[in-house]
C-alpha cells in the first residue's frame, strides 16, 4: 500500500466525493485559489472549478449558516473552518441550526453538512487558536463528531462523513497533516461509530482519540520495552456516536485504563469515557481510571512550554505505571 500523508488522504477523500456526487461543494476561507491555509484542498479548485470549490470572506457565522441552509435543500456542503477555534464565532449556527433543525422540524429536514478543519494545540499559535471543542460538539445531540488519528482513518471517515445524512463535525490536526501512513488505493469507507484497536495488549487499556492515539502508541512501546507491560491502545475515532462496546471490551480484558486526550480536562471527552467505564465495568476495574489531558490552562504560546502542556508519551507511561 502506498504511504500518503494525512493531508493527502483528506484531499483524496474530498476529490473522490466531489467526483462522485455533484451536490458536494467545498466552502471556506482560502480553500479555493489559495489551495487551503493548510493545503488540505490543494489542487481541487483547479480541478473542479469555482462552482464546486468556493472561497468565502471571513464570515464564519454567515457561511456556515449558508451551508446549513443549502444542505436543507439537498446540497452537501463540506465547510472548512481554517481552525476549529473559529467555530466560536459560528457556534449558534452549528448548535442551533445544524444541530437542532431536524429535531425541531419533527424529522422533516435533514442537514447533510460536514464541518471540518484542524482542532489542536501544539503549534505555538496561542490560546485563541488552540481550542479543541470536540467535547462541546459531542455534548450536542444531533451532531456527530469524528477525530481521525491516521491518514487511513481520515480518508475513510471523511468519505463516510460526506455521505452521512446528519451534520458531521470533522476534527483534524495540523500536526498530523504531514505524517504518513499506508492507505489503500482502492476505495473504502470507515463507518462512523466504530472504534479501532490500534494495538492489542493485555495489561492496561490506553484509550484516546486524535493525535493522543499516537502518543499512546509511543507510550505503549515504552511500557513494553522498558517495563514489560502490554498496553492495548484503543482509538475512539468517532466521539459521537461512540463505540462503547470496543472500549468496554478492552477494559474488561485489561482491568485498567488510562484515558488520554489533548482536550482540556474539565468535562473533556475523557470525563465522559471515565464516567461510562466506571458505570458499565465497575467490577472489572482493578484500579481507578486515570486521565491525562492538556494541562489545564489556556494554551501557552511559549514553544517549549506548549510541548509540555499536551500529553506526552512520558506522562502516559508514568500514569500507567502508577496503576500497574
Amino acid at each position: 500500500m502506498p504511504l500518503i500523508t494525512y493531508r493527502k488522504a483528506l484531499n483524496d477523500a474530498l476529490a473522490e466525493e466531489l467526483l462522485r456526487d455533484e451536490n458536494v461543494v467545498l466552502l471556506g476561507e482560502e480553500v479555493a485559489e489559495y489551495n487551503g491555509a493548510y493545503k488540505v484542498t490543494e489542487g481541487l479548485w483547479a480541478r473542479f472549478g469555482s462552482k464546486r470549490v468556493v472561497d468565502t470572506p471571513i464570515s464564519e457565522a454567515g457561511f456556515v449558516g449558508m451551508a446549513v441552509g443549502a444542505s436543507m435543500l439537498g446540497i452537501r456542503p463540506v465547510v472548512e473552518l481554517m481552525f476549529w477555534s473559529f467555530s466560536y464565532v459560528t457556534f449558534d449556527q452549528i448548535i442551533n441550526n445544524a444541530g437542532c433543525v431536524r429535531y425541531m422540524s419533527g424529522g422533516q429536514i435533514a442537514c447533510p453538512i460536514v464541518i471540518r478543519g484542524p482542532a489542536n494545540g501544539g503549534t505555538n499559535v496561542g490560546a485563541t487558536h488552540s481550542h479543541t471543542p470536540e467535547n462541546f460538539l459531542a455534548n450536542t445531540p444531533g451532531l456527530k463528531v469524528v477525530c481521525p488519528a491516521t491518514a487511513y482513518d481520515a480518508k475513510g471517515l471523511m468519505k463516510a462523513a460526506i455521505r452521512d445524512n446528519d451534520p458531521v463535525m470533522f476534527m483534524e490536526n495540523t500536526l498530523l497533516y504531514g505524517e504518513q501512513w499506508e492507505v489503500p488505493e482502492e476505495e473504502y469507507l470507515i463507518p462512523i461509530g466504530v472504534a479501532d484497536v490500534k494495538r492489542e495488549g493485555t495489561d492496561i487499556s490506553l484509550i484516546a482519540h486524535g493525535r493522543a492515539v499516537l502518543t499512546c502508541l509511543k507510550a505503549a512501546e515504552i511500557l513494553q520495552a522498558q517495563h514489560g507491560i502490554s498496553a492495548e491502545v484503543v482509538d475512539l475515532r468517532s466521539i459521537r456516536p461512540l463505540d462503547e462496546e470496543t472500549l468496554l471490551a478492552s477494559v474488561r480484558k485489561t482491568h485498567r485504563a488510562v484515558l488520554v486526550e489533548e482536550n482540556k480536562p474539565f468535562c473533556g471527552v475523557d470525563a465522559q469515557i471515565a464516567s461510562l467505564i466506571q458505570e458499565k465495568a465497575f467490577d472489572e476495574l482493578d484500579a481507578p481510571i486515570q486521565r491525562i489531558s492538556a494541562l489545564d490552562a489556556p494554551a501557552i504560546y511559549s514553544p517549549p512550554l506548549e510541548k509540555l502542556q499536551l500529553p506526552t508519551p512520558d506522562r502516559v507511561v508514568q500514569k500507567a505505571l502508577s496503576i500497574c
Binding site: V25, K51, T56, P57, S59, A61, G62, F63, V64, G65, M66, A67, V68, G69, A70, S71, M72, L73, G74, I75, D92, Q93, N96, N97, V101, R102, Y103, M104, S105, G106, G107, Q108, I109, A110, P141, G142, K144, D164, N165, D166, P191, I192, G193, V194, A195, S238, R240, P241, L242, D243, E244, Q272, L276
Partner: protein
C-alpha cells in the same frame, strides 16, 4: 402617502392582473391568520400550550402580499413570529395548532412548538427562534437554488431588532458578493420586545439603507398597502430571478399584542392610544376589506361570511389539536439523527444516546 402614488400601485401591471377571486383570497388569508391566532390565544390562556406564542396580528398583510407573488421555485423562511407565513405558505391550521399544543399530530410532532413551524414540501423552511439565526439559512436556500440552476428565490423575513445581529450583515455581504437570489424582508413593527426602533438601531433614513454598504438595492413599503407591497416585492423577485441579485425590503407594520403572549409589559412601552390608533386607522384587514368593497368586488356580508369560515376553521383546528395524542416518551429520541431513524447499510454503529 399621496393619493396618486397609492393609485399608481393599484394600477401596476402586477396588481391589475389580479382577479377578484385572488383579491378576495388575500382577505380570506388575513382572516384565517387572525382567527387562527385568536383561537390560539384563547387556548394559550386556557393552558393548552406552553412557552411562547408570538402573535402576528396586525402584520397579516405583509405575509399575504409578499408571499402572494411566489412561484413554484420560490421559498420562504422566517423567525419565531411565524404563524402568518406558515398559513399563507399552505400549512393547515390543524397541524399548526396541534404543534402549539405539543401534540404528535403537530407539524413537528410536538417537538418544535409555535416558533418552529416547518413545511419543506411547501417550500416553507420555518420558524426560527434565535433572532436573525434564519438570515444565513435563507441565504443558503438561495445558494442551493443558484447552485442547482433553478430560477427561484428565497424570501427571508426578519424583525427590526434582528438587523442588529452580526450574522445578518455577514449574510448581506455574502449575498451581494456571491450574487444570490435572496430577498430580506424587514418587518419593521417598530419594536423589538419593549425596545422602540430608535432605542435599538442607529440608521440614517431607515434600516434597509444598511444594504447600501453592501451594494445591495433596497426599498421600503407601507405594510398597510397590499398593492404597494406587491409592486415592491415583485421588483425584488424579478431582480432575483433575472439577475440573481439580492434585495433588502423594509416594510412598515405594527403588532397589536405584546411581543409574545407572555409579554407582561405589552401595554407599558407603548401607549394604549398608539395601539388603538393603529387598530382603528391602520388595520390591514379592515383596510383591504374596505378597498374590496370600494372596488365593488365584495359586499360586507360576503366579508362576514369569510370571517365566519375562518373562525370555524380555527375552531375545528383547535378541536383537532385538543383531541390529538401527545408524543410518547420514546418519541423524545426520534428525529435526532437520520441514521438512527432510517439506518443505511449495516448502521447505525455505536451509541448515540447517553442516558
Amino acid at each position: 402617502m399621496m393619493e396618486a402614488e397609492s393609485r399608481s400601485f393599484a394600477d401596476a401591471e402586477i396588481n391589475r392582473c389580479l382577479t377578484p377571486e385572488e383579491k378576495i383570497q388575500f382577505l380570506r388569508q388575513m382572516f384565517r391568520i387572525r382567527r387562527f391566532e385568536q383561537t390560539s390565544l384563547k387556548a394559550y390562556n386556557a393552558g393548552k400550550m406552553g412557552g411562547f406564542l408570538h402573535l402576528y396580528t396586525g402584520q397579516e398583510s405583509v405575509a399575504v402580499a409578499t408571499i402572494s407573488l411566489l412561484g413554484e421555485n420560490d421559498h420562504v423562511i422566517t423567525a419565531y413570529r411565524d404563524h402568518g407565513h406558515a398559513l399563507v405558505c399552505g400549512m393547515e391550521m390543524g397541524e399548526c395548532m396541534a404543534e402549539f399544543f405539543g401534540k404528535a399530530t403537530g407539524s413537528s410532532k410536538g417537538k418544535g412548538g409555535s416558533m418552529h413551524l416547518f413545511a419543506p414540501d411547501k417550500r416553507y423552511w420555518g420558524g426560527h427562534g434565535i433572532v436573525a439565526g434564519q438570515t444565513p439559512l435563507g441565504l443558503g436556500i438561495a445558494y442551493a437554488l443558484k447552485y442547482k440552476g433553478i430560477r427561484g428565490c428565497c424570501l427571508c423575513y426578519l424583525g427590526d431588532g434582528a438587523v442588529n445581529q452580526g450574522v445578518f450583515h455577514e449574510s448581506l455581504n455574502l449575498a451581494s458578493l456571491m450574487s444570490l437570489p435572496v430577498i430580506y424582508i424587514i418587518e419593521n413593527n417598530g419594536y423589538s420586545m419593549g425596545t422602540s426602533l430608535a432605542r435599538s438601531s442607529a440608521f440614517k433614513q431607515m434600516l434597509a439603507q444598511r444594504a447600501e454598504g453592501y451594494n445591495i438595492p433596497w426599498d421600503h413599503a407601507n405594510g398597510e398597502n397590499i398593492y404597494e407591497m406587491r409592486v415592491k416585492t415583485q421588483a425584488a423577485i424579478e431582480r432575483a430571478h433575472e439577475e440573481s441579485r439580492p434585495t433588502v425590503l423594509e416594510i412598515a407594520t405594527y403588532r397589536y399584542y405584546g411581543h409574545s403572549v407572555a409579554d407582561a409589559n405589552a401595554r407599558k412601552y407603548r401607549t394604549p392610544e398608539e395601539i388603538e390608533h393603529y387598530k382603528t386607522y391602520h388595520d390591514p384587514l379592515r383596510l383591504w376589506q374596505k378597498r374590496l368593497v370600494d372596488e365593488g368586488i365584495l359586499t360586507e356580508e360576503q366579508a362576514d361570511a369569510i370571517d365566519h369560515e375562518a373562525r370555524a376553521e380555527a375552531e375545528v383546528a383547535s378541536r383537532f389539536a385538543d383531541e390529538s395524542p401527545f408524543p410518547t416518551e420514546a418519541d423524545i429520541f426520534t428525529d435526532v439523527y437520520s441514521e438512527v431513524d432510517q439506518p443505511v447499510g449495516d448502521g447505525p454503529h455505536g451509541t448515540y444516546f447517553f442516558n
